[in-house]
């Protein structure tokens, strides 16, 4: 703990105890408590390190009438924290503990009405209850009753905290740490007299409050069910059995009363009971009732909850799958369920629900959303194959577009509810996406393609539906990498629709289209006729890359920044194979590079500029040798200088990533027979590039060194940090080599050979200042005493100077800078000392103002 903090804390405690109202802001006390919690978790004994805290607690509770509720609440929480350790508990037990947690005292003082006092009391208790002494204290003080009352508190925060604390208490009752705190021992709840009262009290509460007597109590029942589910999941056998025994009758009553709002929490409880111990016959029966005898809307919720729980119970999984498939069966008319399905008894009531718009959309969406869970069920539990489910989902999508009638009798009204429903369309597309990896569905590839292209082509399709359609298409292409089954006509249709959508009025559609092209380029795919050739999905389309690159080039001019950014990324993915093969047509390459450099220097949107730098990073990464991408190599200085001068810090960080890549390449080139430097004969290159000086010169020529130096003095911390790390790496890898290879004097000479020019303006001026190479400041103030900036003049540019690279790397004090940059920007502002000082400063200011105000009042009186 900081010495300055230790010395400031007593004064802070005094201030808080005396006038808690004058705090810098509402979060100060929370921050203070967080700091104490961190210290405590780090193993610091708070009472030993900050003895003033005990005095503070005593002072506040003994003078509670004068204390602010927020300070009181803080004190309660702090007391809990101090008493969380057994030593601290002993100290407090002898002094203030009883008084602090005496809720009757707070009630009598009229402070209990304030929710912040109640929540302070609960959280204090919760924090304290870490050991058996604390639990004994809790039991002896009989805090179970008030904690149960707080379950239905008017404040939701209080009720929620009370519920969590109660669960904590009960779980602690069954497993308290041993006095040594090394291991936990399980205490048999039923036989342990000390804690049985707590459990008994809770069980009584459960019996009384689980079943709502009236509609207004539904919320209360929901809370109790949530608490019960939590306990059943985590409790061990004695407590769990006791709880189950207690709630069996109320649960049965709830299951049969059909409260729709309680379906999901009730299902959670039953599943928790069922999972933890099998629950016995009674729980199995309740589960069976939940999955069969409720109204269809609740039934699908229950079935979905059961499947999501991944419980390996084949009968109930089959039943749940049937329940979830029934709405799809009814609406599509496809016989998804076997003739003797148990879900079939609900057919007419499901139809009834589907005729109502709200319940129809909701029910179909739940069915579709849970299709992945349905198909994850063992095949012998499913009434139909995954391919039939895919057909049903496709059928739903056709119904949504209004193009085909349902083959189900009496479905005209239902059809009206789903026609044009974006929600159903999106759920169905998600389901289709998830189903792509199911077994035996590849036979439907053509159908899926046809429908998705139809969706992409439809003027009625919403941008989000179009985006999802593209995503599903990519997913299916990914899974069915062999696109031979997709007819030439379909592939042509896809190209046509993409051509159209890339010109769409809605930028979201253009964006997702361009993204789609990138994803296709990245998706491995082939045609059976062309097996020997490794290809991507884009190459399998008519025209292949040649057809799509012009579309992406056009999209580089898009007025919307997001689209430009996406097209840059898609271009990178599309051109990657040609970069690897060195096959990009020079003309096209030149056009793209020119346009990208324009975007980098002129685009007003950061997204596009970031994408451009990432594009070049990807290109350089793919480039196998400088000769295969000479244009790129020539462009590197421009990219680095423009990227470094960008206003967006992310662009600058990406530029430094590019510089890092070039550094890596340069390092590699010292070991490998190629380099990023322009063409040279290989033998000569080998001779020169094994020389570190030459490597440094090459980096300087490319602008890597300038980019790193400008990043180092950048005002954005992530940029400075990255640049500093890279410069240190460069210093540590290259400069010792120079020193090791030759003697020091030679090194200095060599170092001076690898030099870099620093201009006299911008970032270089700051670097020169650090290096001490700046010319002495001239007296530029005129007779009027004003400097050039005051007079609206530009600062005069100094002449450029050359500095040795290694020399500069040594003199930049990079390690010191790294230490500073590694700390977060707000580390000073957010430090505990700053917090303590803020509290003291505000307090002093308030006192000062109060005294001034008092004087003024006196003056006014006269």
């Amino acid at each position: 703990m900081d010495r300055e903090c230790v010395s400031a804390l007593p004064r802070v405690c005094e201030v808080l105890a005396a006038s808690g109202g004058s705090l810098p802001d509402d979060t100060s006390l929370e921050k203070l408590l967080d700091w104490f919690t961190e210290l405590s978790e780090a193993g610091v004994s708070l009472l030993e390190a900050c003895p003033c805290l005990l005095g503070f607690v005593s002072a506040v509770v003994s003078n509670d009438a004068a204390s602010e509720p927020s300070v009181l609440s803080f004190t309660l929480k702090l007391t809990g924290l101090l008493a969380a350790s057994e030593d601290g508990f002993k100290v407090l037990q002898d002094s203030v503990l009883d008084r602090v947690f005496d809720f009757r005292h707070w009630q009598a003082a009229g402070l209990w009405e304030d929710p912040c006092i109640r929540i302070g009391w609960i959280q204090g208790l919760r924090t304290m209850l870490q050991h058996s002494q604390a639990l004994d204290f809790f039991v002896q003080a009989d805090f179970t009753e008030p904690l149960l009352q707080l379950q239905t508190d008017t404040s939701l925060f209080v009720a929620s905290a009370a519920s969590q604390t109660l669960a904590h208490v009960l779980l602690l009752c069954q497993s308290v740490p041993s006095p040594e705190g090394r291991h936990r021992e399980t205490i048999p709840v039923e036989t342990d007299g000390k804690y049985s009262a707590v459990v008994a009290g809770f069980c009584d509460y459960l019996k009384k409050s689980l079943v709502p007597k009236e509609a207004s109590q539904l919320h209360g029942s929901q809370q109790v069910l949530k608490l019960l589910a939590k306990l059943l999941t985590r409790a061990g056998p004695p407590l769990r059995d006791r709880l189950l025994l207690t709630v069996s009758d109320p649960l049965e009553e709830l299951v049969t009363t059909n409260y729709s709002q309680l379906t999901l929490p009730l299902m959670d409880v039953i599943l928790a009971a069922h999972s933890s111990c099998g629950g016995g016959e009674r729980v199995a029966r309740l589960l069976s009732v939940m999955l069969s005898a409720r109204n269809p809307a609740d039934l699908v919720h229950a079935a979905a909850a059961f499947l999501r729980s991944s419980h390996p119970d084949p009968d109930n999984r089959a039943r749940s799958a049937g329940v979830l498939l029934l709405p799809l069966d009814v609406i599509t008319g496809l016989a998804l369920l076997g003739a003797d399905s148990s879900a079939d008894q609900h057919r007419s009531s499901v139809m009834e629900q589907l005729r109502r718009k709200t319940s129809c959309v909701s029910m179909i969406c739940i069915s579709l959303t849970n299709v992945p869970q349905v198909t994850s069920t063992a095949p012998d539990c499913l009434p139909c194959s995954p391919a039939e489910i895919v057909s049903a989902v496709l059928s739903v999508l056709r119904l949504c577009s209004g193009d085909s009638p349902s083959s189900s009798p009496g479905c005209a009204e239902v059809l009206r509810n789903v026609t044009g429903s974006g929600r159903v369309q999106k759920c169905a597309l998600d389901a289709l996406s998830a189903l792509s990896s199911s077994s035996g569905v590849k036979v439907l590839l053509v159908e899926v393609f046809t429908l998705l292209i139809q969706y992409l082509n439809s003027p009625a399709s919403d941008p989000s539906v179009i985006q999802k359609s593209y995503q599903v298409l990519v997913k299916w292409v990914d899974v069915c990498a062999d696109l031979s089954d997709v007819t030439e006509q379909l592939r042509e249709d896809l190209v046509q629709v993409v051509r159209k959508r890339v010109c769409d009025v809605r930028w979201e559609v253009r964006d997702s289209t361009v993204e789609f092209l990138g994803h296709l380029a990245a998706a491995p795919a082939s045609l059976a006729s062309d097996k020997e050739k490794a290809r991507n999905a884009l190459e399998c389309l008519p025209g292949g890359r040649c057809a799509t690159v012009p579309l992406l080039q056009e999209a580089l001019q898009d007025p919307e920044g997001y689209v430009r950014a996406s097209s840059v990324s898609a271009l990178a993915l599309t051109l990657a194979p040609s970069w690897q093969q060195g096959a990009a047509p020079p003309q096209q390459e030149a056009e793209i590079v020119t346009r990208l450099l324009e975007i980098l220097s002129q685009d007003t949107q950061g997204f596009s500029r970031r994408a451009v730098i990432r594009f070049f990073v990807a290109w350089i990464s793919s480039c196998s040798s400088p000769s295969s991408c000479s244009l790129l190599t020539q462009s590197i200085p421009s990219i680095l200088s423009r990227g470094s001068a960008d206003l967006d810090w992310e662009v600058k960080v990406h530029t430094l990533e590019l510089a890092e890549l070039l550094l890596d390449r340069a390092s590699e080139s010292r070991r490998h027979p190629y380099a990023v430097t322009p063409d040279r004969t290989s033998t000569h290159a080998r001779a020169v590039e094994s020389d570190p000086v030459s490597m440094l010169n090459s980096l300087v020529d490319q602008g890597v060194f300038s980019a790193l130096l400008s990043g180092l003095v950048d005002c954005d911390r992530p940029v400075g940090l990255k640049a500093c790390q890279l410069l240190i790496r460069l210093r540590d890898t290259v400069c010792p080599l120079l020193l090791g290879d030759q003697d020091v004097s030679d090194a200095l000479v060599s170092g001076s050979r690898a030099s870099c020019e620093l201009p006299g303006c911008g970032w270089a001026r700051e670097v020169r200042r650090i290096l001490g190479t700046a010319t002495a400041p001239r007296n530029v103030h005129g007779a009027d005493g004003l400097g050039p900036e005051d007079r609206g003049e530009e600062e005069e540019e100094e002449p450029a100077v050359r500095v040795g690279v290694c020399d500069a790397l040594r003199r930049l004090r990079l390690d010191e800078r790294l230490a500073v940059l590694a700390q977060s920007s707000d580390h000073v502002h957010n430090s505990p000392l700053s917090l303590l000082q803020d509290i003291l400063t505000v307090s002093r200011t308030k006192t000062h103002l109060d005294s001034q105000l008092g004087q003024e009042v006196i003056v006014d009186c006269y």
Binding site: S404, S458, P459, K500, C503, D504, V505, R506, Q557
Partner: protein, 550 residues
């Protein structure tokens, strides 16, 4: 008697006659121009292809109509001046019509046939934009026909015995003997001279018995629905209305409340096509074609949706990098149409009205013209031919592709797959329109933009205004034939709507409860012998009798 005589079977080109309180009111005067699809196109420049089409002879050789009928790509077309299918004129004596109420400029195209050839002596009521733009459309139609005169007139094929042996759509065409050639400019002027202008919510008294009043219908410039009411009865006539936010004043819905009968016509012809989606399709197909180096042809009317298309393109051009692409609007009335749209500020939506006070032109096509991005010409001849630059976008008529400058562009661009024709007008089947141009290489895109009420909107509207009875074309009471499973594409009302078809006569279900009568004091006194006692009024067999109350 409250009777409706239905003279048109076309739900969006209605022509109904309402007999109400001894007044005979014609509601709209739509001209069904789909009949022109049976005719060969009228090329502006000699077309070797069309002139070489083989004549039609029946398979057994017994009927030879080589001069009247030509075969093209397996279909048969009449080689004659195109003719139109008029509203039914035999169902009642049209000279008895007192007034004609026009709801929008598309629904008045048959006016000269009614006012000039039936003995009509009444008055036509319409708003000013309806009259002016209606005049432009009529003049354009006349111009299209008159500048390519065709000497021969085909009539033999109309012979009933021959017609039933003809192939395809000609065999099924109805009332072909009533089809008429286009009217003349003189007839247009004479018909329009009978129009009396009215403003929205203006009340017009008809013979003291009935009051009629137009309400904004939100569909086009000056478009109206009509309220026809007596003291105790109210009939609403809803025709071509829109709830979308486009250029016209929004629809006045509240005034339609408390109607005894609501006559509902002019719903969207393409209920499955959302206008916004179609506008998007239009733009993306246009951009796709231009980027590929092709030309875009948009067959359209010279007023209406074209204003919205140009407004949409105004925003789209820059974003799609189409700034250098020329846009041409070719119509004999192009200039007037673009200018009229800018001067009818009071008939425009609020946003556009406020622009006038800035002052700025309400429609952005003014800026497109100013910056030379949009150029308009009366015809392909003259200045256009010297300034024509490709690739380009051409807006021109007629949407049927049977006459007008569009015929020339079809002949010019039809052979290249780089070019695209985009149909935006919903009045004609695009497949039928393209039939005489087959085989065709140019791409075809169907983006019908119909902003009129769809079934969902009209259901909400009717729930809101709650008329006691609804009368509508029979097409609205069942789903479209091509989508018989779509029960959402029809009107489902309680009580069910009264359907009508061409030549139907409906007795409107009024329940008369009150009637206002004026009695002269002398009559009153003479009908009762006892001074100071009032006579008793009784009603028997549609007549009122005063009896002695003594």
């Amino acid at each position: 008697m409250k009777l409706t005589y239905c003279l048109s079977g076309h739900p969006t080109l209605p022509c109904n006659v309402l007999k109400f309180k001894s007044t005979t009111i014609m509601l709209d005067c739509g001209l069904d121009t789909t009949s022109v699809l049976n005719f060969l196109p009228l090329p502006l420049v000699h077309s070797p292809r069309l002139s070489k089409l083989p004549g039609w002879v029946s398979k057994d050789g017994t009927i030879n109509l080589e001069k009247e009928l030509k075969e093209c790509a397996g279909r048969v077309f009449v080689d004659s001046q195109p003719e139109f299918c008029l509203p039914e004129v035999e169902l009642l004596d049209l000279s008895t019509i007192d007034v004609i109420l026009i709801s929008n400029y598309h629904c008045m195209m048959a006016l000269p046939y009614i006012t000039e050839h039936t003995g009509f002596t009444g008055t036509v009521y319409a708003t000013e934009p309806t009259l002016q733009i209606g005049r432009l459309l009529m003049e354009e139609l006349v111009n299209f026909m008159e500048r390519v005169p065709k000497a021969q007139s085909a009539t033999c094929w109309k012979n009933k015995e021959i017609q039933r042996l003809l192939p395809g759509s000609l065999k099924d065409a109805v009332d072909v003997w009533t089809w008429k050639r286009c009217y003349s400019l003189q007839e247009v002027n004479s018909a329009l001279s009978k129009v009396q202008l009215v403003g929205y919510s203006q009340k017009v008294e008809l013979f003291g018995a009935v009051q009629v009043s137009p309400l904004s219908s939100g569909y086009s410039l000056g478009s109206s629905n009509w309220i026809i009411q007596s003291h105790h009865e109210k009939v609403s006539y809803v025709s071509g209305s829109s709830l979308l936010t486009t250029h016209p004043q929004p629809m006045d819905q509240s005034s339609l409340k408390n109607s005894d009968v609501l006559i509902l016509t002019g719903l969207t012809q393409i209920p499955t096509a959302n206008p916004d989606g179609m506008l998007g399709e239009f733009c993306s197909n246009l951009a796709m074609t231009i980027r590929a180096g092709g030309n875009v042809l948009v067959p359209c009317y010279s007023s209406g949706v074209i204003y919205d298309l140009l407004e949409c393109l105004y925003q789209f051009i820059e974003s799609a990098n189409l700034g250098t692409t020329p846009f041409y609007f070719i119509s004999p009335v192009a200039n007037s149409s673009l200018e009229f749209s800018q001067i009818f500020a009071e008939w425009l939506c609020h946003n556009k009205q406020t622009k006038v006070y800035l002052p700025e032109p309400p429609f952005p096509h003014a800026e497109l013209i100013q910056t030379n991005k949009l150029k308009h010409y009366p015809s392909i001849h003259g200045d256009f031919s010297s300034e024509f630059r490709q690739p380009c976008v051409v807006f021109t008529g007629h949407p049927s592709l049977r006459f007008g400058d569009v015929v020339h562009f079809m002949e010019l661009w039809g052979k290249s797959s780089l070019n695209t024709i985009i149909f935006t007008e919903p009045d004609f089947s695009y497949l039928d329109a393209l039939a005489p141009y087959q085989p065709l290489s140019m791409k075809c895109v169907y983006c019908p933009i119909d902003t009129r009420l769809n079934f969902h909107q009209v259901s909400k509207l009717l729930k809101e205004v709650q008329p006691l009875h609804v009368v509508c074309p029979e097409q609205y009471t069942q789903p479209p034939v091509s989508q018989s499973h779509r029960s959402d594409l029809m009107l489902e009302l309680q009580p069910p709507p009264m359907p009508y078809r061409r030549c139907s006569v409906l007795n409107l279900p009024f329940r008369r409860r009150y009637e206002r009568v004026y009695i002269l004091p002398e009559v009153l006194l003479s009908s009762c012998g006892c001074p100071g006692r009032l006579p008793v009024l009784s009603y028997k067999q549609s007549q009122y009798f005063f009896g002695d109350g003594c």
